[in-house]
Symmetry: C2
Subunit: 352 residues, 2 copies
Amino acid sequence: MSQFNIAVIPGDGIGTEVIPEGIKALEAAAAKHGVELNFTHFDWSCETYHRTGRMMPEDGLDQLKQFDSIFLGAVGFPGVPDHISLWGLLLPIRRAFNQYVNLRPVRLFEGLQSPLANKQAGDIDFYVVRENVEGEYSNIGGIQYEGTDDEVVSQQSIFTRKGTDRILKYAFDLAQSRDKKHLSSATKSNGLFHSMPYWDSRVEAMAERYPDVKVDQFHIDIFTANLVRMPEFYDVIVGSNLFGDILSDLGPACTGTIAIAPSANINPEKEFPSMFEPVHGSAPDIAGQNIANPIGTVWAAAMMMQHLGCDDMHDTIMGAIETVIRDQLALTRDMGGNASTQELGQAIADII
Amino acid sequence: MSQFNIAVIPGDGIGTEVIPEGIKALEAAAAKHGVELNFTHFDWSCETYHRTGRMMPEDGLDQLKQFDSIFLGAVGFPGVPDHISLWGLLLPIRRAFNQYVNLRPVRLFEGLQSPLANKQAGDIDFYVVRENVEGEYSNIGGIQYEGTDDEVVSQQSIFTRKGTDRILKYAFDLAQSRDKKHLSSATKSNGLFHSMPYWDSRVEAMAERYPDVKVDQFHIDIFTANLVRMPEFYDVIVGSNLFGDILSDLGPACTGTIAIAPSANINPEKEFPSMFEPVHGSAPDIAGQNIANPIGTVWAAAMMMQHLGCDDMHDTIMGAIETVIRDQLALTRDMGGNASTQELGQAIADII
Ligand SMILES: CC(C)[C@H](C(=O)O)[C@@H](O)C(=O)O
Ligand SMILES: CC(C)[C@H](C(=O)O)[C@@H](O)C(=O)O
């Protein structure tokens, strides 16, 4: 019997509401497929910050290191500045555990209404492969002449060949494994003078090793426009930390609700635990109302089991998500229904 | 009789096809309102680059300085890397002439079909106010260990208090002048550790001086999602150079075609000429086919005349654009018709 130890960090806001539904689905699928899952909860959050001055304990990363996987809700809440909360919890985990791939599937499900006119299930079906540990997300920089009219703030992005090539390789491999074999790279080499021309040159170099993959590139501005005009064009999208972040929120918005989108922070070499979370944030505006959509979290749970080698659990969970949406069994408000977070979570677990 | 000297730079690709239509509209409106316009053409482009090794002559900026205004088509063409062409022509003009405001209206016209379901004319009607001379668009940075596996590329963004406050002031003033008095700021303070928390703090400081303006802010990822989900929510959007660039391509895409969107690069103090151009680029894929939509350029021409104090010319040109679209008189392919660039341009001039 396979056995996995999972670190669970519900975090803030609706993170604490959707994570239990993810666990419900995992437990149902584990029972069905004879897998043993042990969950250890960590209450690290903005609330912890208020109490202790830290988002997680000093040895937090050490504590997490021993787990097979990390299951995270959402981080950030009014009262703690976003750059403090995120650089105190989510971002250090991605970096310390070398989770350099952020894999985000985007799919229009049967039963959901796209905000785009005339789009059917199947029309939107692509992956965003986002670089997850370097690039624009950086705490290198600072401020000079602080507090005066002469204030100057510098913010650096760092792109390494190692960091760029490995995410490109992952994306090209993924594209090669798919029917369309089509990779689209996000750039902005006309405005960002150093980083993006470099990115483009590495795409070009990598493309030579994948002659069967059709490659194109779009500046991020027109890329966002294209996602709205012709989402069916895309198959695998690769982008830097920032551009991948943007496209993987916009993409799901085109599928009806960003709340169903999952995010897998993967260390492909499995030297460290990977981390699975919904794309959505802590959503303070709807927190505490039991109306948050848990599907992003449940889908993230499915991706986690796939990463751990349990494809059957993945498939079972995905099947349940598809059924509950297609048959409109219990949809939350964002999907046009009026089910609660728990009712939707329970419906998924029941199907499993 | 007012008289203005206009520098015209058609540039590359469809830039050379749409600019003549913009001039047609300007000449018709000038004749009607008794204004004298003198156009001086500059053939600066990627073609010039191939011939001379420069996008514009060494004294190019000096030549432009004496004009009342600059009317630009599009810059960039395959064969010259984008960062070379743009940093050799468009971006130096924005900077040298302190055109720190990039004003981009976004509007769904009667007669155009939004790619968003169930949106009517009037549902989308906002301005993007984009910082236009500093921020992420920067040639500060470089590469170390070039050509080896250890390559590291650094790319800096620079935000100054002066540069940040003046664009925010412009945006707040604009918001205050409108019915909704609603300003939305684009940020990403959870990922970009220095620049965006700084941006947010300046928004907060400026907001205190505009108690009647309703202010909110969104991280750029969810901002793009929101534009698709609820474009009617927005009134005035303010963003950094990069974020403003993205939102002002995505916004027009939601109005049916980005080809109608204009871009005013404004030096509000009028120390230097301002520059007016369509948002779209040189579009090499459709260049030379006489199918490019000239409306973005004609609208930019209208904004130019408004900036020069000729509100009546602005209104006349805008009225003609509205009529030609509403009555479907001569629409190009991107708007669902089959008129040529020239037929559409002529239809607008005829109405004027
Ligand atoms: C061509 C490019 C440098 C330019 C920009 O990003 O500013 C364009 O996209 C625009 O929006 O005017
Ligand atoms: C919360 C934030 C730092 C995070 C990111 O930008 O990476 C989130 O938007 C995401 O996409 O996972």
